[in-house]
């Protein structure tokens, strides 16, 4: 679905992305992880053509993104960001915006089909009760659900989510992740999301791309990528990785520095005895 080859991007003289190679198969649910400033958002901006590509290529469904028209691209790709500019329009109007790439240049009114699609996704995302409320009046979690409904109304082949759940409580985070997983499995929607919560990524994503300083550090299944060695190397933080007793997926546990020091100290005498 998405092939990124030797991608180089950057602002000014800094390279934010340095020869990045990523392939996302059709039907994958990929999590992009890495510390702040590792180039995750830049990667998404390059995929969405928000920033120019210096060298390398981004191919979407076999076509170079620079060769696609804006409309063609908008029909294949939709992007959900963490925060976005809001206008006091109703949830229904907001979701209808997702139909823009399918509307003619001089079409003033929405078609019956637009309404059917919008109704479907409003119900699917569970925001039917909010449809006539203004999006500026919604909570963060509800706004994000509306953003996802709008992105889905775009009927994309690839959905990009840039930290779409980072600022939400655990209820909304898991509700959104469940919805994405369902869309991925039942509708075959290809999803790539930037996510900071490693345990959440491990539980829901089918594969992970780990980035460090503008380069891909590792990619593979959550079990392959989420090892304590990888996390220590990329995040420069010591953690414990264990598996979830129900799903058997990797879970990352933080450790307080005090505990770590205590642990090191208690291990010291043993070393001397030996």
């Amino acid at each position: 679905m998405l092939e990124i080859t030797d991608l180089v991007c950057g602002y000014g003289n800094d390279f934010c992305l340095d020869k990045v190679n990523i392939t996302i198969e059709e039907g994958a649910f990929t999590g992009i992880i890495g510390p702040n400033g590792s180039g995750k958002s830049t990667l998404f901006k390059a995929i969405a053509s928000d920033i120019p590509i210096r060298s390398g290529s981004v191919r979407l469904a076999g076509k170079d993104t620079t060769a696609l028209s804006l409309k063609e691209r908008a029909r294949m790709l939709s992007v959900v960001t963490q925060f976005q500019e809001l206008s006091p329009i109703t949830v229904e109007e907001f979701v209808l915006m997702g139909r823009t790439p399918y509307r003619g240049n001089f079409q003033f009114f929405n078609s019956r089909e637009d309404y059917q699609i919008v109704n479907y996704f409003i119900e699917l995302t569970g925001i039917t009760h909010l449809r006539h409320k203004r999006i500026t009046e919604l909570s963060g979690g509800e706004q994000q659900m509306a953003s996802i409904a709008s992105a889905l109304a775009q009927e994309p082949k690839l959905l990009l989510l840039d930290e779409a759940t980072s600022h939400l409580d655990i209820t909304h985070q898991i509700r959104i992740m469940n919805l994405l997983q369902e869309l991925n499995e039942t509708r075959g929607l290809t999803i790539a999301m930037i996510i900071h919560d490693l345990s959440l990524a491990g539980e829901f994503c089918s594969n992970l791309v780990m980035m460090k300083k503008g380069k891909v550090y590792d990619q593979g299944t959550p079990k392959e990528v989420l090892t304590y060695q990888n996390i220590e190397a990329v995040y420069e933080t010591v953690v414990v990785v264990n598996s979830n007793p129900i799903s058997n997926n990797p879970v990352v546990f933080p450790i307080a520095k005090r505990r770590l020091d205590e642990c090191k100290r208690s291990m010291q005498p043993h070393a001397e005895v030996k």
Partner: protein
Amino acid sequence: MKQLSSKTLSALILLPLMLLVASMLSLSIGEVEIPFGNILDTLNDPDSMEYAVLKYIRIPRTLLAISIGGSLSLSGVILQGIYRNPLVEPYTLGISGGASLGITFAIVSGLFAMNAVALPIAGFIGAFATIFLVYTLSVRKGMVSISRMLLIGVMISFISSAVVMFLMSITAVENIHGIVFWTMGSLNETNTFLIYGMVIVSLAVLLLSYLFVGPLNVLRLGETKAKHLGINTQTTIRCLFLLTSLLTGTCIAVGGVIGFVGLIIPHVTRLWIGTDYRSLLFASFFSGGIFLLFCDIVARTVIAPNELPIGVITGIVGGIAFIAILSKSSSNSKIM
């Protein structure tokens, strides 16, 4: 499945009615009173003095008030849509200043004396140069900084008025009177070419602006989002800049500097019918026309037989209305 809200429908019916009433008032009030009922009869009686008053004074003036008010308000609403900021309008962005400079240059250099078309063209060039300058200077790393833009707009206004004064100080005395008269803003235009040109330009731009109504609606979610939804934001913004420069340049060439219409009217209209540009564009145009008609009636009646500059009225009425509306609406509700 509602396509048009009840507010839009009410605006569709109410605004033309209000415009009709305001026009009738504008035609009947003045030194020579022509009662409402007699307006039609008078028009069929070419020999009467009232006929001459209507034909040569009041009808042109009424048409001018409607088209200038509508145009300024339309420019305001379009610019606010592009920048997603309610403080933006031709006056605050310095576009009026740039247009004034162009027009003063046309008067001083004698271009206007050669052909009246020079005036709107010079206004358009001045307006477009300013809008382009303000936009390119305020964009940094692809982001428009609103505070930078407003400051640059204010600075360009200052520079333009300084250059206008410079031009006035070096020009012949007979030009100065014309420039001063015109900078105060007045609807007392006698050149029929300019009057009908203004009417045609305003109606044409209103129609043309509807080509961009879809993009303007999507731009409410920001430029990046609009691009992700397949809108060619660059082309849209450039075309809209051209249209607003054309409108503002022509308005200023014909009516002088009339401030705040483009700020207040779109604001009030938005509070009334919402932010959907499909109804906002025509509603702003109509409301602007009605507003300026009333301002003009006030301007020529309060100190009759003398006349107040209309810019004075729009400044006072508009400013007070703006503060009143702002303090009434809850501070945290976004209006754009």
